[in-house]
Symmetry: C2
Subunit: 394 residues, 2 copies
Amino acid sequence: MRRISILGSTGSIGRSTLTVADAYPDRFEIVALAAGANVDAAFEQAQRWKPRLVSIASEKNADLLRTRLRQAGLSEIEVVHGNKGAVKVATLPEADFVVSAIVGVAGLEATYEAVKAGKTVGVANKECLVAAGELITAEARKQGKPLLPIDSEHNAVHQCLRGGRMNEVERVWLTASGGPFLNTPRSEFKNITVEQALNHPTWKMGKRITIDSATLMNKGFEVIEACRLFHIPPSRVDVLVHPQSTIHSMVEFIDGSILAQVSVTDMRLPILYALTYPERIQSDMRFDVGNLRHLDFCPPDMNKFPCLRLAYEAAKVGGAKTVALNAADEVAVAAFLEGAIRFDEIPGIIEETVAASNSRELESIAQVLDADRAARRYAQEKVQKSAEPRATSV
Amino acid sequence: MRRISILGSTGSIGRSTLTVADAYPDRFEIVALAAGANVDAAFEQAQRWKPRLVSIASEKNADLLRTRLRQAGLSEIEVVHGNKGAVKVATLPEADFVVSAIVGVAGLEATYEAVKAGKTVGVANKECLVAAGELITAEARKQGKPLLPIDSEHNAVHQCLRGGRMNEVERVWLTASGGPFLNTPRSEFKNITVEQALNHPTWKMGKRITIDSATLMNKGFEVIEACRLFHIPPSRVDVLVHPQSTIHSMVEFIDGSILAQVSVTDMRLPILYALTYPERIQSDMRFDVGNLRHLDFCPPDMNKFPCLRLAYEAAKVGGAKTVALNAADEVAVAAFLEGAIRFDEIPGIIEETVAASNSRELESIAQVLDADRAARRYAQEKVQKSAEPRATSV
């Protein structure tokens, strides 16, 4: 029986984790949940799973949730809130596995504390590895506990790595769908609408990650995540565009053998893998190999998609540069979604912000959060400067 | 330092093994060689590698080789001959790894004795697993030593299997190039010439295996080999046609994840893998992932290629049926190569021979060899009957 705490239980990965747990009631017990702002969803999850502990973002919502649970006869469920609440969920002594799926830097501290408390952590929160990956992976190594990637690419890499030892790895190949603008000429990038950018060809995801997929910044983040998770330099992580997203990633070994992982595009699969590792258990998520017909590949175009290049550059330096990369991207993507900047202005905002950030190593989550705030402020100023000329020209 | 005996040193796999050994002189020592009929090649190999022991097929050639080695100042190399000689090479106490690459049933006894002597055996000899696989794998399990497949498909499967446990395997997918007649209509099969059939699209191999690739019998043998090597029933081994032969095979796990192995089509790669397992070492055999463009797949057509169906049917019964399958195929292919029968007559000869064979289990290599001889006689008669009407009609 694996006893699971979920950080981000009402988000997409959190809900998928509960679906997986639901399918194997004799294997998984949900002991704690950290939800976002949605009290209704948090209440329903608490009622269904009866965890020992539920955390919710605001104090007001915590009071509301406490009342509703008491009315439902579930007053034994403890309700906490805020970052402290999430840390309590992450470090609950009864939990042995923590799913880190709070979106954004809000999940950093809780995830770090989970690792520090010796939990096995399944990582779905990109920021954990992009912004604070050096700290978190160092702590995981110290604890001797695995960090299990819950996203299709790194999960695929994790599986392929079982075919050899870490010192036998030549290269990691992350596949990329290429996003909706793979075949759009660069000259048309200035006219890309929010609606077009939100129309991802293979995965249904949140808005920011969908835009990040369209700019290939998402793949850039994944390059950084791969470097952190698997302790390899960015020069040994490559990206291959593969529109069908059938091969989720590959590992090339020093003898010339390459292992590739194939499966349906369903997040429940990497979640199940992480929750049961090192075992595998039966699922109904079957990829129809017999109906496989064509797979296509091409190299990524870094001129057309400068975000990928920016990510490689930041990855080489690490520290505050990757924090700035993530923070500036979040600000720029939000500005694009609000109509404040054009699609083709996203990379420039990020490039300037990363260039302006210092390149110091970060020694604590507090320092990461400081660097994050500074980069956000800087990027926000750049967004305003980009938006102004247009506002006056109207 | 791995001390290697090679059964079939002057054949294609034997020579590739020596090329691999040559590239890593500090890792591999050649301690014994069993050659075929080619005295010149055997002499050159003995001179180059200075093994303790060389075996050659005939007594006459052994005398010749002994004389030449003495003249070259190498009289310390012991020369033996025949099946007994090959067994001596296979069981030499100094050897810890035996490469089984004698073509045909001639390699059976030596391979079996190598396994029995507790050697780690790299298997390139198809007959070992098709005709005597049950005996050989049972003995390997008893000895607790791995049988390492030296052919691209099973070697690929072996690598993919590292991603899980044997009881977590749902299915093995063997890929097949489809051979030169993948897109030839069945109605034209009767006109296929020897030259056309010998023109394999992706691999350069011996004549029999090239014809077996054209009929898909080679893939049928590989299904049987997979069943024996990995202890799974034929119902869980599938074939997928993949003309580029880039993915060498795949393993589907019970959780829905599939691992696939990709590499250049170079036999030195599976040889190196087997010789260094469980380690991997650096090689220059690089597959250019960055230049990957298209991969195509389709299901095999068992009506057009009845040999594959015959192999599945024989695999279900095992024992003397798979011995008959192999023996009849060898006879039928030889008859086709000599112009005695047409390409489309090959499956009929095999089907009749397998049907006529009994389905008893075989308990010794001697029984395997008896069943093999009986099937060959039967198939030879069928060939003559097929050839007669045409001879009279000319």
